[in-house]
Symmetry: C2
Subunit: 84 residues, 2 copies
Amino acid sequence: MSILDFLRARKKAPTASIAKERLQIIVAHERGQRDEPDYLPALQKELVEVIRKYVNIDHEQVQVALENQGSCSILELNITLPDR
Amino acid sequence: MSILDFLRARKKAPTASIAKERLQIIVAHERGQRDEPDYLPALQKELVEVIRKYVNIDHEQVQVALENQGSCSILELNITLPDR
């Protein structure tokens, strides 16, 4: 399953046209062998910490999804940023 | 332009079936207002540093693309990991 297929499958109805600031981060890890360890769950926390240096986010505003499709793991972070 | 459209436009022919380990990271930043500062170029370096804690990568193996589409900025990192 490619990243494109993954995104297409998850695509939601368009949101209201209010101009919210949003960040979406997708990390796709294609492993050469299926039995390699997967570090995406650990990576996820560090990514949020890096982003927090630039914008003010709290954990409630971060939606996380992690999916495994054979040898491909996909981490998706959706962050809605607060109004300023 | 949605992230999905962006990916569809950039989709390349499938690569050879050699099982290389790869990481793809996509960061999409939808700004509420067009004139806000964009921190994706700075974020890029920090993301690579975070990933380097988990896997051994060198800068030559990191391909970076940054595109701006109106109020949406998309950062794409493609990393081919070395054979072990």
